[in-house]
Structure formats: structure tokens, C-alpha cells
Symmetry: C2
């Protein structure tokens, strides 16, 4: 097990990454100052079947009284309707001020359960137990929680830090291939914006990673989380620096929105977005084309999509970019890289952008 701390002043907390550590959940939570007390495990119908019994057993042996709250698997559970159901079950489970929420699952569960913890009795303890690669390397860390409205994603939420993150690498074994590859998009992103040597290491280790070798995964997840934790520690409320984590996300979000949520997984849309951002980096930020090609090749080798399907309507995507919340007047603020491992922000005129990338 690898352990480090996210430094956030009074909200600092440990992060544990390791194979099989779900069985240490109770003890790790206690070490982080949570309970033992009456707590709720919020999970989804898929993850719950696989891991809830082990999580509960570990919590019970550490003295916790655990109530399981299961929501349907899928992004639709990040809704105010599901939130309302979870609140009612929190009330029925009599979760009190000294209690806690344990979020067992992927990004949807982490975001939903995190917001429940942030808002239950004006905030109770939260432990994140990410079980997908995307959640382990990205969404479980940083304190972003929330739900979607029908009009847009993540409009409602809170910045709320967990007391601990427990990432059990073994849970990645049961992850469908497409979801596993999706998570690699965020891993490659950290390398692209913050860590050039990590690009070489990923180029070398990719076969072992795709074969889900536990040692390779543990190393990769910890390295990704350390990068994210340093960015988050420097900018907990996304005031500035944290924006660099949006590399590939401007076009990625627009693609998700216009293709109908669900067609592309988030990481797949981000992969295409990183390809676009790389091309723009060559043109606007002086990225040398050899480095740009290495990055694109790595994305492709990870089994991620690298281009828009022919059928996709570029015009819709352009319209979505025009609506992007990072828009400032007629320009969009893009995250670009001027070399592998170093990001910067750059404003690009929307209409020029649309013609440049050929939509």
C-alpha cells in the first residue's frame, strides 16, 4: 500500500492506494479520525454487488454500524430525484452529526455521495472509495461533488473534501475494458501537462497497464493522484492553476454535450479533446510536432478514440463551444502545452478556432 497526504490545511487527508486494501477500510477510516459510528455506504447497483459485502465486513470489524444505500448504476443517478431518495434513506438510517458517508463506486457515486455528505446536517465526514480508474486517478480527489440538472451537468454541488481516499487497485480487475481505457485519458493528461518523464514511462509500461498488472497500476494511480493533489493543494477552489486540469476538456465537454451524453464516455471525449488541444498547441504555443505526435500516439495506443466520427456534425460542436462556460466574450480560454509536461492558458477566437480545426 502506498500512502500520501493531500495538503489542504485543516482539510488535509490521507490517500491510500493498494491491492486488496478494501479489507482494511474500517481501520483506515478510524485512523483518519472517522468513527467508529453509524455510517451510510452509498454505492450503485453494479459496484454494490461486487464489493459492498467486503466493505461492510471491514467496517463492522472496526466497530462501525453500516447501512447500505444503493442507487441505480449510471449517470442518471446524478439527479435531484436520486438525491432526494438518498436523503430519505439517510433519514431512515438515522445518520447523525457524528456519522459519515462512504462513497463506494465510480465518479457518479463519488459526486452524488460527496454532495450528500456535504449537505447532510450541514456536512458530515466523507470517505471516498473509488472503484473505477477514472475515479481513482481523478474524480475522488479534489473535493468536487455535485449533481446534474436536466439543462446541464454539475450545475449544483459543493467543494467538500473527504477525510480519506481508499483506492483499491484490485477493483479495477472487474472494470469493463472500455471504462478502464477511459481512465487512461486522465492519466495521460497528467503526464502531458505536468510530467514529461511520465510520458516515457507510460510508453514503456502500457502493455503491463493494459494487462492490469497490479504493481504497474499501483504506481500509475499513485503518481496520477500525487499530481492532482499538488494542483488541488495549490488551488482548492479552482481559482487559477487548477484550470490546467481542463487540458482536453473544453472540446471534450462540448463533444459530450452535442453527441448526447452517453455516446462518448467522458474519458473518450477528453481523448479527442486532447488531440485537438495538441494540434492547437503546435499552432499557438510552439509545441514541437514530434512531441505532439508522441502524445497522440500514446492516446491511440491506450485504445482511446482520436478523431470525430465522420457522421458527427461539426456545426453542433462549434455551437456547443460557443456556449462553453469558459468563454469570455468571443474567445475561449484553452489549456495548451508548450512542451510535454508543461501547460499554459491561451485565448483563442471562437470563429478562428472552428475554421482551424476544420468543423
Amino acid at each position: 500500500m502506498r500512502t500520501f497526504r493531500v495538503e489542504l490545511g485543516p482539510q488535509s487527508h490521507p490517500v491510500h492506494v493498494g491491492a486488496g486494501i478494501l479489507d482494511q477500510l474500517g481501520a483506515l477510516a478510524r485512523d483518519a479520525g472517522v468513527g467508529p459510528t453509524r455510517i451510510a455506504i452509498i454505492t450503485d447497483s453494479c459496484v454494490g454487488k461486487l464489493y459492498a459485502t467486503r466493505a461492510i465486513a471491514s467496517l463492522h470489524s472496526a466497530g462501525f454500524v453500516a447501512q447500505l444505500i444503493e442507487v441505480p448504476a449510471g449517470e442518471t443517478s446524478k439527479s435531484i430525484e436520486t438525491l432526494s431518495t438518498v436523503y430519505d434513506r439517510m433519514a431512515a438510517a438515522e445518520i447523525e452529526r457524528g456519522g459519515a458517508v462512504f462513497a463506494l463506486g465510480g465518479g457518479v457515486v463519488g459526486d452524488l455521495a460527496g454532495f450528500v455528505a456535504a449537505s447532510w446536517l450541514r456536512g458530515i465526514a466523507l470517505v471516498q472509495i473509488p472503484t473505477t480508474l477514472t475515479a481513482q486517478v481523478d474524480s475522488a480527489l479534489g473535493g468536487k461533488t455535485g449533481i446534474n440538472l436536466s439543462s446541464a451537468k454539475n450545475l449544483v454541488g459543493a467543494f467538500y473534501q473527504p477525510r480519506a481516499i481508499v483506492a483499491d487497485i484490485e477493483t479495477l480487475k472487474t472494470l469493463p475494458d472500455r471504462e478502464f481505457r477511459e481512465g487512461l485519458a486522465e492519466v495521460i493528461k497528467y503526464a502531458a501537462i505536468l510530467d514529461a518523464p511520465m510520458i516515457s514511462d507510460l510508453e514503456r509500461d502500457l502493455p503491463r497497464i493494459l494487462a492490469r498488472d497490479p504493481a504497474a497500476l499501483e504506481l500509475m494511480v499513485e503518481r496520477s493522484l500525487r499530481h492532482k493533489s499538488q494542483v488541488v493543494a495549490a488551488d482548492p477552489h479552482e481559482g487559477g492553476l487548477r484550470k490546467i486540469l481542463n487540458f482536453g476538456h473544453t472540446v471534450g465537454h462540448a463533444l459530450e454535450a452535442t453527441s448526447g451524453y452517453g455516446k462518448y464516455l467522458h474519458g473518450e471525449a477528453v481523448a479527442i479533446g486532447m488531440i485537438v488541444a495538441t494540434r492547437l498547441s503546435e499552432k499557438h504555443a510552439g509545441l514541437n510536432t514530434e512531441e505532439g505526435s508522441r502524445l497522440c500516439t500514446l492516446i491511440e495506443r491506450a485504445g482511446l478514440p482520436t478523431r470525430l466520427p465522420d457522421s458527427h456534425l461539426g456545426a453542433n460542436l462549434a455551437a456547443a463551444l460557443r456556449l462553453d462556460k469558459k468563454r469570455a466574450g468571443s474567445h475561449i480560454e484553452f489549456i495548451l502545452i508548450d512542451r510535454l509536461g508543461h501547460a499554459l492558458t491561451h485565448k483563442i477566437e471562437i470563429e478562428a478556432l472552428v475554421s482551424e480545426i476544420g468543423w
Copy 2:
């Protein structure tokens, strides 16, 4: 206009109390660092009719673009259903990260709109414009926001401080008599727990206060808010000291819960709770009976109820006390006073309590 600051470190903010200052709302918000920008005014169907036009005019003249979001008047609007409706209207109004929520109304609007501000885009600026006496002397200050579930009140919420509080004394003129008197319960509470000379001043000024003399009201509201602000500044998240603000509230909450919400206004239930707490203070905390009688007389002179109606089932109330969240095992932690102006906490055994106060 009287102005002071609530000292909460980076969340410090000004409080303005005065007659007619609704017309300065836009300028006061700008002075507090809010906008001018696109903002939402959340209000209810009663208060909106009376004051929204003036609030909007003041905001417009200061450069704001204001969208009005009106919810039905009454406690039922502190629900997840109304919250969901408000979120949809926030999306339609395109309130962005740099935007703000202005809460124009009483405690229900302040709690609901405060939680909207806390959770919209993970937190945007909030200005409280309390228009009832209860909201002006109590609920608008302190950062408690939230909604009710069908199972219990205030289970969901956030601690979220406003950027400014603008309490226009003139709005109290239109308040129904019963709601005005309700607010006096909280005023008397501050005197009882923190400020003995304020008891004498209230005894002297009560006729002018009940006649809603603006000068008397301005003085009383400011004095109450200063007391609350000092308690909140010392304990923003209700870790200890802030508990003293619950004087009269343990029995008050139980009374509200068992009589069916709506039968007693909150302040009326607190008034009865203060009478009980005063009796318990004489018995358990050495409060001298003359001081106890002065306090009870003041509550009565304010036109507040001082006893349970005969028809009320004491057994239900006892059961509700047994469920109180401040319960620790078989004891309830009560806030008592050992003399006028000085509070302390005291644990009382529930069964002894029930027999003592004769239910």
C-alpha cells in the same frame, strides 16, 4: 443606518440595519464586493409583491441585471421539490459563477436561497435581505442554510456565509402582528443569555417596540444581531459556544414537532421553551426566582404564549424530547441561565425532566 462587521476571517461581512435602506441595496452589494452582474432575487409570493420592485430598481441603478425567482410563501417551500424548481430557474436565468443570489424575505426564503447560493456552481455570492423580525434578528446571520425533508426539519443544508446582510426596518411595518411578536422571542433570548441590561431596556422600550417605532426597532435589531454575530464569530460551525443560542429551543423544537408544524410559530414555541428553561434554571442552575419571574413577565408582555394549552398531550412532547438530537443517552443537554445575561449547559435526565415539568 447602523453598520457593523461580522468577524469571520475570510468570510467576514458587513451588516446594515436601517429604515428604508432597501433603496440602497445595489450600492451596498457593490460595496461588499458583489457584482454588478447577472443575479437572481429569490423571494416568496407575499414579500415579492411588497418589495421586489424596489429591490430590483435599486439593483438596476447600480448596474445589476436582476432575475426574480418567486416561490410560494410558507414553510412548505423549504422542500427539495421547491429547491429543484429554483435550480431550474437559476439555469434558465443563466446565473454564472460570478453571479449572486439575493434572498429577499423571511427565514424560509433565507434558508432556501442561502442553500441555493451555497450549492449553485459549488457556491456563488449571497446577500441576505431579511424582511421579518425573526430573520432580521436571527436567521439571516450565522450562515445556517437548508431545507426540510418530510421526516424532519433542516436535515439538509450548508454553513454558508452571506457577503452582506441588509435589514430594512421599514419592512417590519407590513408584518402581521403574530409574526412580529414571534421575532421578539429571539430578541428576549439574547437578553436572557448574554445581556442583563438589555432586559431592563426591553422592559422600558416594549411599548415603543410593539408600536413599531423605527428608532426603537433599529436599536433592538442591531443589538440583537451584534450579540448573535459575536457568538457566531467565536463558533462558526456550532462546535460549542453557539449552543447557548438554543436557549428555549430544546422544548421549543419538541413542541413544534409534536403539535404539527404550523400550529405554533417557531418563536411562539421558543417562548414556551424559554419559560420551561427558566423554571429548570431556577431548579438546576441557581437562577433566583425574582429574575426568573422578570424574564417570564417580559415574555408575556411581548404577547407570546407562556404555557402549553390544556389540550396538549404532554406524553407526546416527552416522546419528542426523547428523540431530540441533542440527546446523549438518557440525558438531554439543556441551555440554562444561572443569572439574567449568563448561560450554561446542563445535562438533565429525561425521565426526571418529564416528571419535573409535569407532563
